[in-house]
Amino acid sequence: MIQQGNDLMTQRQMTKLDRHTPPQFNGVENIKLIHPESSKLKNGCKIFTFNSGSQDLVRIEWIFQNSRFEPKKPLLNVAVNTMLTDGTSKLTAAQIADKIDFYGAFLQVDYSYDYSQVTLFTLTKHLQATLPVVKDILTDSIFPEKELETYMRNQQQKLQVSLQKNDFVARREFNKALYGETIYGLAAQPEDFQSLKREDLLANFKQMYQPGNCNIIIAGKADPQILEAVTTTFEGAWGEVTTVADTTQPDLQPSAERFIYIEKVDALQSAIRIGTPFINRTHPDFPGMQVLNTVLGGYFGSRLMTNIREDKGYTYGIGSGMQSFKQTGSFFIASEVGANVCKAAVSEIEKEVTLLKTDLIPNEELSLVRNFMLGSLLGSLENVMSHADKFKNLYFAGLDYDYYERYTQTVKNITAEELKALANKYFDFDNFYKVIVGKY
């Protein structure tokens, strides 16, 4: 308990408090990123270790590039990933779950367009008990027939529910229009689950989950014993495979039709998704576009939010974003708006996009966005795991730490003229894909 000081009270009474003028503030100067220690196993698997933090815990990720997408088997990659916890020749799904849960650990599988991964969160004192489970599932998953049936049945039901959500449908239609029958564009239908075959899963697993296609990222209180445990576990039992995983992907096939409207007569709200295939993180214009995107729809005070939510009240939320993939990227604006104001909302969106091409962003606004973005970068480095996440952004895009130096320099120095030029170079609203699900 701290006693109240009388001297402070006196000070307060001496000068009248100015509540109108903001307090002095400081810019964000130094953003220090933790770099990993890297090592490589004899079998080709790479390890990156981030050792920091005071809690006795660690997060370990095993990240694999996805194997080549087959449009006839759109669910194969995701099914293999999701079912990694469903059984090995030594452990049943139940035994895997028991073991992980008993030690208070968390074992997650995650699938994204470019990568599939397994993540273990564990207290360091339980690493020796939980690590062998991960080794087992990565080297010896068997996708039992009974588990596959359960998976198909349940995922099919979940997809049926998701397909009732306008924003979910809008996202699928948008991706299909931008990318066609590729890993980025083709979304499965409920009946596709029926075509999953155990032997396809096994073949895909063998081909893709090999050490040469694996990056291990360790973050947490990762002292040398941790790295040693990971090394020992994954070097011995995980042999080199002579065939290389085929991680090339088919070419993108954007649709010729740019307006997609799925009517739902009783909809109270319409989901809107507007955008275009786009440059990704490897492009020199990317950091500048991140500034432009922030102005448009990348934060709570953005132009889209200010106009369409805070002035018009058409929506609970609207935003824009950029996604960076291995093969491509996207720029998009997304919202769910009152069905009766959908047309008005689209026309306001167009207005805001056009304004960036015709008018310079005022200094006041631009300096706010600069500070916001730097503060946000600093705030995104909350703990050692966030530092590892920053590294993943770079590493998988084939970039190095210079990227963040360029990013911060761009945020600090890009001019309103340069941003206007970027808007003119990249934003062509008439050519954007426009998806509406609901009423228009």
Binding site: Q4, Q55, A93, T315, G338
Partner: protein
């Protein structure tokens, strides 16, 4: 272990400081002791609408968000049936900006008519987006009034109906502010790269001059114990049937809370949990099934929920859920299983210490419940739970006459034809 210092200003504002120099950031979290339970039954949804209005400018500062974003900060807020919580994260060098902004809106709002008009619309769109235009989105609007007959928990935070939000007047907003938004009803936590002495000076400077206001004395009708089984069936344009069984349980402050939370973990936490193991995997009756508690400060809810597989009747589904909870009433939870859920709880608490904001919110909430220091005792309380206590709680809670069953019947829709699958509202 989350260390903190604590002091109270003359006007009654409680302040907690958590120094954590592993981050260059600071958080300022203010919890107001007001939630949807404090609303007039004819003006529901007001606490949450008011939260939106807190961003519509204060007496000396016309725009709340701009000045904060300008110094690299971000903010948000949430409202529950019990509390309203506002938080800011920003580079610690700019902490004073957070004090400036938060103190001015505690002093007084601008009460702009335009802001009220716009936020009414925004909240109405939120109502639609989250509750009406989603499959099963209205379940809480239906389930709450079944479980609660007297207590204001009978309406959801968003409100009973859109009408209540449409009808909100600026006078109501002013009265609500006066009643609830004063230093005596607030708990502030400042955490991160900060020094207690600096926080104290800034707290005195910015919050010290705010008048204490009147203390709000809460006097809510408590929910009488349920004495009869309740049941409702609704038909909706959803793709699958859905079964909800809700039970009344003691509030968050009751000593039984820890046993009950572990009991919900035994049923439904992780892939080794009982409901998942037996009803999704071993004897597949459901595509998904969950058990959870609301953690409310007054009488809470223990909820079982599951979507039966095609071809499984509602009766079969209900019966299977009851079989699982009957087991908890008659058999002791095996030692290994109890250790498992305790280990999980313990590691979750350690992981939560990785997040500065989580720590700040937790300290504020535990202070509201009585003492921020109790946050550090949580692990111990969970570890002390015995199998007998869980069995006792199962017998107290899982009784037919303490249950409210809500059945969603799917009105056959074809999921692969999105054009034909409107949701009924």
């Amino acid at each position: 272990m989350v260390k903190f210092n604590r002091f109270t200003l003359d006007n009654g504002l409680r302040v907690i400081v958590h120094e954590d120099n592993t981050t260059p950031m600071a958080v300022l979290n203010i919890l107001y002791d007001v939630g949807a339970r404090d609303e007039n039954p004819e003006q529901t949804g007001f606490a949450h609408l008011f939260e939106h209005l807190m961003f519509g400018g204060s007496v000396n500062i016309p725009n709340y968000d701009g000045p904060l974003q300008r110094v690299g900060g971000e903010n948000n807020a949430f409202t529950s049936n019990d509390i309203t919580n506002y938080y800011i994260t920003l580079p610690s060098a700019n902490l004073e900006t957070a004090f400036w902004l938060e103190s001015d809106r505690m002093l007084s709002l601008a009460f702009s008519k335009k802001s009220l008009e716009v936020q009414r619309n925004v909240v109405i769109e939120e109502f639609k987006q989250r509750y009406l235009n989603q499959p099963y989105g209205d379940v809480w609007l239906k389930l709450r009034p079944m479980v609660y007959k007297k207590h204001p928990y009978r309406w959801a935070t968003i409100g009973k109906t859109i009408k209540h939000i449409e009808d909100a007047k600026i006078e109501d907003v002013k009265a609500f502010f006066k009643k609830h938004y004063n230093p005596q009803n607030a708990i502030m936590v400042v955490g991160g790269d900060v020094k207690t002495e600096d926080v104290k000076a800034m707290a005195e400077k910015w919050f010290g001059p705010i008048p204490a206001g009147d203390k709000y004395i809460r006097n809510l009708p408590q929910e009488p114990a349920q004495k009869e089984e309740r049941r409702e069936t609704v038909t909706a344009k959803v793709p699958l049937n859905d079964v909800y069984i809700a039970f009344q349980m003691e509030g968050r402050l009751d000593e039984s809370y820890y046993a009950v939370e572990l009991m919900s973990d035994i049923l439904s936490r992780g892939n080794s949990s009982r409901l998942y193991r037996s009803l999704v995997k071993d004897k597949p009756l459901f595509s998904e099934v969950h058990a959870y508690i609301t953690g409310s400060l007054d009488t809470g809810m223990f909820v079982l929920e599951g979507k039966p597989l095609e071809g499984v009747s509602i009766e079969q589904a209900e019966q299977a859920l009851w079989q699982e909870i009957e087991k908890l009433k008659t058999e002791d939870v095996p030692a290994d299983e109890l250790t498992k859920v305790k280990n999980k709880t313990e590691s979750t608490l350690v992981f939560s210490e990785m997040s500065l904001l989580d720590k700040a919110m937790n300290l504020a909430f535990y202070e509201l419940m009585g003492d921020a220091a109790d946050f550090n005792q949580e692990s111990e309380k969970f570890l002390a739970v015995t199998a007998q206590q869980i069995k006792d709680q199962a017998n107290i809670i899982f009784r037919k006459e303490n249950s409210s069953t809500l059945i969603y019947l799917a009105q056959g829709v074809e999921a692969s034809e999105p054009e034909l699958t409107e949701i009924e509202n």
